[in-house]
Structures are given as C-alpha cells and as structure tokens.
Amino acid sequence: MEKRDKYKGAFKRFEEGKYTRSDFKQVNELFEADSEEELSEFLHDNWQSIPEGETKSPKLKRFIDQIHDGIFPAKPSTVKILLNYYQRVAAILMIPILLFAIHWFTVKEPQRAEAMATIVSPLGARTSFVLPDGSTGWLNSGSELTYPINFHHEREVKLVGEAFFHVKHQDGDKFHVRTNGLTVQVLGTQFDVSAYSANEKISVVLKEGSVQIFDKNDQAAYLMKPDERFDYNTQQNQAVISKVDATEFVLWTEGLLQFKGESLEDVMAKLSRWYNVDIEIHDSQLKKYNFRATFKDEQLDEILRMIALTTPMKYQIEERKPNQNGIYVKRKIIIEKK
C-alpha cells in the first residue's frame, strides 16, 4: 500500500510537469510494467480530473477542425483537381532533366545497411519527382533530395535547395523533411521548403494542411497554418512568421519567375540558379534595390533587358570562352550602375 502511494505522488507531479528524476523513473517503470492495472488506474484518475467542454485554445481548435475537414472534405473531388493541376504544370514546363543517382552505402552491420537515392535537379532545370510512398513534388534548380530506398517505414528525406512537396497521407505515418537547420514534419499536405546551403535563410511556405517545424535540437518550434511563411535565420537562430499567399511561392513549379519587391541581389541569385549563369553585381547600392516583376518562359537576355529598363542598372554578358583545359565554363554576367 505504501508503494502505491509513492507511485501516486510521482504520477501527480509528473502529470503536472514538476517532477524529479525518481518521479520520472517510477512513472516509466509503471508504463513498462507487464500489468496495466495500476497504470490504467492512475491514468484514469487524471482523465477524470480533466474537464471536457468547448475547446478554448485557438490553435488546438484549428487543429481539431483540420481533422474534421479531413474526414468531411469540403471539396468533393480533390483527386480530380490535383490531376488537373499536374496536367497544367506538365504542359507549361520544359522537359525536366532527371538525374537519378543511387548510392549504395555498404555498411557492415546488415540491419543498418540503408541504400539511399538522390534526385538532383541541375542548375537551370526544374525536376518533378515521385517518392516510393506516392508523394510527389518539384525540385527547383540546383537542389538535391536524398531519401532511403526502403522508404515506407520511416518517411524521411533530406533537402538541400528548394522543393515543393505534395505529401501523400498515410495513416499515422509522418513524413519528415530535414534541412541543415530545421526539420519539417507532416502527415499529408502541400508545402514549399527553401534551404539553399549558401543562404542563411530557410523558408517554409504552407499551401494546405498543417506542418510542424522542429528546430535543430529536434524540439517542436512551431505548428504552421496554411498561407503562412516561416523564415528561419540560421545565423541568428531566429524565426519570423508571416502571412502570405502560398500559391505565389509555388509558381516556380509552373515555370513562372516572380519577384515581389525582392532585393536585386536576391533576384540575381535566383536568376543565376534558374539559368545556370554566374552573375556579379559590382555595386553595393544596386544590390539593395527592390524589384517587382513576373516572367514566364522568358530568355535570360530578355529578362535582363527588362530589369535594366526599370532599374538604374546596366549589364554586360561576357563571351563564353574555353578555359586553359579547353572546357567551356558558365556564362558570366556583370551588373553595374548606369
């Protein structure tokens, strides 16, 4: 009987969140015990003490509504709408170059041996992908996506660069996107992750559903809602959440380049990945100049000419010459003040 009271106290403190190490050990012990009788009794006491009633937390309320909407979808035929969407995308895009590299990691311990596959979208190309679980998406230029061949058990991919994911829902099976700094966890949804290694910034934009962001210590940091953007600065370890129109952030999957008041430096970084060229801005003031425009299936020269028309910049395209090894290097573009 004495022992029982000891457990009872430990459970109470543990449940309330102020517990000692021995409290934790006792709670753990009962959870691990073969007989559920005592555990069930303590937990039932706690269950009884928590009132039911209208959910007050707005965040939880939204989450619960999402579960409800998942069971009772507002749109009658999601499948059809998505199909249409991909048909459209396929029509707009140039033929993506798909490089499929499979690395077999020979690990000595057999059960740890894990074969990994990497999808690479080279500079200047956008690549669509289908993962073994049926999840699909687009990989933006200069990006890499790595995943285990044996994908069904733990759905986890590693991303360097930008990708748009349409994750297939699997009962209770989460899907993780790891980047160098943050991890995004989802059940089934559509979202965009941008985590280029050269940038200090990692952005996640959520189109549908909900995703959980984890910080680099794998602590839950934020639960995102649709049309939100989560910007994380890896240098400063700070995050900013803003309201956005998510469709604008996935335009690249349709071959559209859109700039909405981004700095010329960011614009040029994007262009250099998109068209696989080196761009140098030789003026620090110009770098900060804000620029807005949308381009679709435009040649790089045409885009540069349009930017030059509306901003105080001029540009010069260096001729492509072979280097001393006889190899043609990337085209280089120099940008200066007018």
Partner: protein
C-alpha cells in the same frame, strides 16, 4: 451529462455532430496526452489518432458512460504506445544522467528533471560534429567501440579519447553554464492551451 452532440447522429456519420464531439473532447484528450508525453506534436497526434478511430468505429458507439469509457480506453492505449516508443528513444539520455551524476557533484540532477534533460540535449548538440557522431554511436546506438572504429576508419584509441572528452565536456557544461541558444525554444513554448 449535458453533451452537445447526439450519439445517434455520430453513428450515422453526421458532419456537424462530429464537429461538436471533437470540440467537446479535443482539449481533454490533448491535455491528457500532453501530461505524459510533454510534447505538443505528440499530443496532437494522439488527438488525431483517437478521433480517427472514433470515426472509423462510429457504427459501434453507445450512449453516455460507455462512450466516455471507450474514449478513455483508446486514448490510454495510444498514449501508452507513444510513451513507450519515446521512452525507448530517450533511454540513453537517462542513463547518461545517471552516469554523470555518479561522477560529478556540481549539479543537482534530481530536481527539475525536465530541464536537466533539455540541457543535456543542448550540450550534446554543441559538441563538434565528429565527436558527437562517435558519442551518439556509442551511447545512443550502443555500438561496440571496435565496430565504430571500423565504420569510421579510425583507431580504437581515438574513439575512446573522443568519448572521454565528450563526457568531460558534459560534466563541465552542467557544472558551469546556463543553456544558451534557447531562443527559438522559448519563443514558441507559449502554447496557448
């Protein structure tokens, strides 16, 4: 019991009835799960799992007391399963604290245990990449030193040194400093439930 939903309608799969049912029990299931799992995401997953189960099993629902009992049973099972899974993943941290505790007396490891574990996680994260890899392979994955040496193609001596250094580092950190880099953590911990 004054329930704002109708079990008959639940059985028929009525959308409105389920909405009310979810809102009526959502916070309870969440709070219950959170009190053991101490993690918002895990607690939400429990809510989702439990509600989906109720939905799938809607045709067998009965009125009043047995509905509550049924809800408790499935929540209990879901929480227990997740608790045990997490506990297995985290076991090495608790053994580490035991080990540190027996070798140092600079910090009280007994009280505020949740904070102790949170600190430990941060300190491991702070280690240089290679040392952390070795440390995790040994302490978390429990691999023999010889095997790690073979896999990483370095000497047994180096592995042993790295682990000694790692333990020394943990002792020092626990002894001297408050955790830094908690910004993000603190920033988002104000969960409004």
């Amino acid at each position: 019991m004054d329930q704002p939903f109708n079990v008959e309608q639940l059985r028929r799969g009525d959308s409105r009835a389920f909405k009310q049912f979810f809102q009526y029990y959502g916070e309870k299931v969440f709070a219950f799960a959170f009190s053991y799992l101490k993690n918002e995401t895990d607690a939400q997953e429990i809510v989702q799992e439990v509600f989906l189960k109720v939905w799938k099993n809607r045709q067998n629902l009965k009125v009043n007391t047995s509905l509550q009992a049924y809800l408790f049973t499935i929540t209990f099972n879901a929480v227990k399963k997740t608790f045990l899974r997490r506990s297995k993943e985290q076991a090495f941290k608790h053994s580490l604290v035991d080990e540190l505790d027996s070798e140092t007396d600079v910090q009280d490891f007994e009280n505020q245990y949740q904070l102790v574990i949170a600190k430990l996680e941060l300190f491991i994260e702070e280690m240089p990449e290679r040392r952390r890899q070795i440390f995790i392979a040994r302490k978390k994955e429990g691999k023999p030193v010889k095997q790690i040496a073979e896999e990483m193609d370095i000497s047994v001596k180096t592995i042993e040194n790295q682990i000694t250094e790692a333990m020394k580092y943990l002792k020092n950190r626990f002894g001297t400093e408050l955790p830094e880099g908690l910004n993000l953590l603190v920033l988002f911990l104000d969960y409004d439930h």
